[in-house]
Symmetry: C2
DNA sequence: GAAGAAACTGGGAGCGCTTCCAGCAGACGG
DNA sequence: CCGTCTGCTGGAAGCGCTCCCAGTTTCTTC
């Protein structure tokens, strides 16, 4: 049985019980060299007898390493994290951190208090590293992070500069894929509803759309700017329909918006995909269940989290990993 | 401008610059009494001049308080957290923690490594408190948590005992609401697809169903046991249809399962709600978008997170909060 | 104006762990 | 048998902060 006394078991007690010095005990805990086999075993026995677990705080103070990394979401919207997207990122991050001794601290920097905290964190090394998903355009935190002492890897890229270490999804390539697919299936008057243009995901997807149409020699002028929300998607579709009644397809920069857009299309009496084909982006769970099921671009969200964590680990280990762009792929369903 | 030198600014430096002792400086940092106004101001000036931020680790070691609480999800399925449910809980938790100085550590205890870590945490006070959402039946961790030294609040209740501190949704009441609604709309042969019976959410919802039918004097024998998954819901529905072809309504213990069930119903040529009414549970985002939109029971997920955090804070403050059961409510849509 | 209370002040002892370093013992070759 | 190496040991100095305590100053009050 392990000890259940209230007080914590300390290294000193272990050392005493094993009949060695604290230094020696410490060495075997961290299995460092310079300990004879006999003492090593004595200490190990004492550890299990006493149920000793090192005090992480004391260790952190002594080693100047916190033993924790932060997953930070910087956004002006407190609800962002409610997006399943982040939950999946977190799962990915967790899966690789689980192999290490590092804790995962979640920092939703949505209020100004949260922002301040993240800021202090970046300035004063209260964590061994941070993964930053910055969700709005010219987030000052992103700049701060980039020149911070603590290792930072970005999830997605800020709009105003390219960070040194990041992992992102191939938004541009995905958008291109989607648009090419529309071209390949015979559409010629292809519109787009973009995402927020102050997020790189928004601009990159728009670029992909433009590229694909340029290559095909088609007109890329049927554009309305959206905001990634379902409602915004609906409004954008109305505007599109008003300005370009001849469109026969629309590439929508997110599934949420695509859902709003489809609602408007149906209301306008258009059939999908008969009159107009619709393609979304993200492949959220919902996409499989719309009427008709939504063709969309899937990105490997958990991988994104996993790779961010791996990259951070590499950074902490003193390596210099190269940025990573994760592939996206087209998931073909009935809406196109 | 704040200082940008590599080394951390320490309290000693602040004290020196302000011309006071370290003790005095410490007192003003923690705004404790017994400091003259002059010194207080001198220290404050030094703090801003130097850009001093207290070292959380050192403080933790000195005060024996970690400054962090853990949100732990114990489950045998690594993907649980991908469920939007937890993301929302996390948002709620974060919203109240943001008002405090506490960090939020996320601990997905899914692998055995994660389990071990959580276990050590409970045994050795490496956090000031933990919120535990235990997702499968007789999780040994739940027992361990209950008798741990560190404050623990449960999210949901384990099946095999009632913890001292918990917040849960009124699963039973919600199920009853849903079933009563079916009765009230004229259904008489009401079946149910239950959730996993090794989770309290599963058993409680089943009980609510039984109660409502007992009160109405109707037969509660049309039961198939499900597993909360979409696929499982479909299979359960097939079985239900085979065994009780006369059913005119089904209360399904989760939206995911309800979606699977509806698919099967349609395949069987049944109209919804014409031939059979369907009610789900949870009100996930998807529920609004099914064909037809799903009537379901909503639970206040973010509140759940918020209340867990509040309760934990109270516990840490030495109070003895009482368990909390959060109301659920019926969201009526077209499937019933 | 003296005695006692009240408010401030800084020294110093930790919190539990890591790590440098000087000291030692045993092994080995000459 | 002595000098040199190698590998073990434990003492001690921190890591940066809190907080107790004894000493000092200032303020009351009669």
């Amino acid at each position: 049985m392990t000890d259940h006394s209230r007080r914590q078991v300390t290294l000193d007690e272990v050392a005493e019980r094993a009949g060695v010095s604290r230094s020696a005990a410490s060495r075997v805990i961290n299995n460092a060299p310079h300990v004879s086999k006999a003492k090593r075993e004595a200490v190990q026995r004492a550890v299990t007898d006493l149920g000793y677990v090192p005090n992480a705080t004391a260790r952190a103070l002594a080693t100047q390493q916190v033993g924790a990394v932060v997953l930070a979401i910087s956004s002006d919207n407190p609800q962002v994290f409610a997006d399943p997207f982040f939950a999946e990122v977190a799962v990915g991050v967790n899966s690789v951190l689980e192999e290490t001794e590092l804790e995962l601290i979640l920092q939703l920097a949505t209020s100004s208090r949260g922002q301040t905290r993240l800021e202090q964190l970046l300035r004063t090394r209260q964590a061994d590293g941070v993964m930053l998903m910055s969700m709005h355009g010219d987030d000052p935190l992103a700049q701060l992070a980039e020149k911070s002492d603590v290792p930072v890897v970005f999830g997605g890229t800020p709009t105003n500069f390219e960070p040194q270490y990041y992992v992102d999804a191939d938004n541009r390539g995905g958008a291109r894929l989607a648009t090419e697919h529309l071209v390949a299936t015979g559409r010629r008057r292809i519109a787009t509803i973009t995402g927020r243009m102050d997020e790189s995901a928004g601009t990159a997807r728009y670029k992909g759309y433009q590229e694909a149409l340029a290559v095909a020699g088609l007109d890329a002028g049927r554009v309305v700017y959206g905001d990634f929300s379902e409602e915004g998607g609906g409004q954008a579709m109305e505007q599109l329909l008003a300005e370009h009644p001849d469109l026969d397809a629309v590439f929508v920069a997110s599934d949420q918006m695509a859902i709003g857009a489809m609602r408007v299309l149906k209301l306008a009496g258009k059939t999908i995909p008969g009159d107009v084909a619709v393609v979304g982006f993200n492949d959220v769970a919902l996409a499989r269940h719309t009427e008709p099921p939504l063709t969309t671009v899937a990105q490997p969200i958990q991988s994104l989290g996993r790779e961010m964590a791996r990259m951070l680990l590499a950074l902490i280990a003193g390596e210099s990993p190269t940025p990573l762009i994760l592939p996206t792929r087209l998931v073909q369903r009935a809406s196109s």
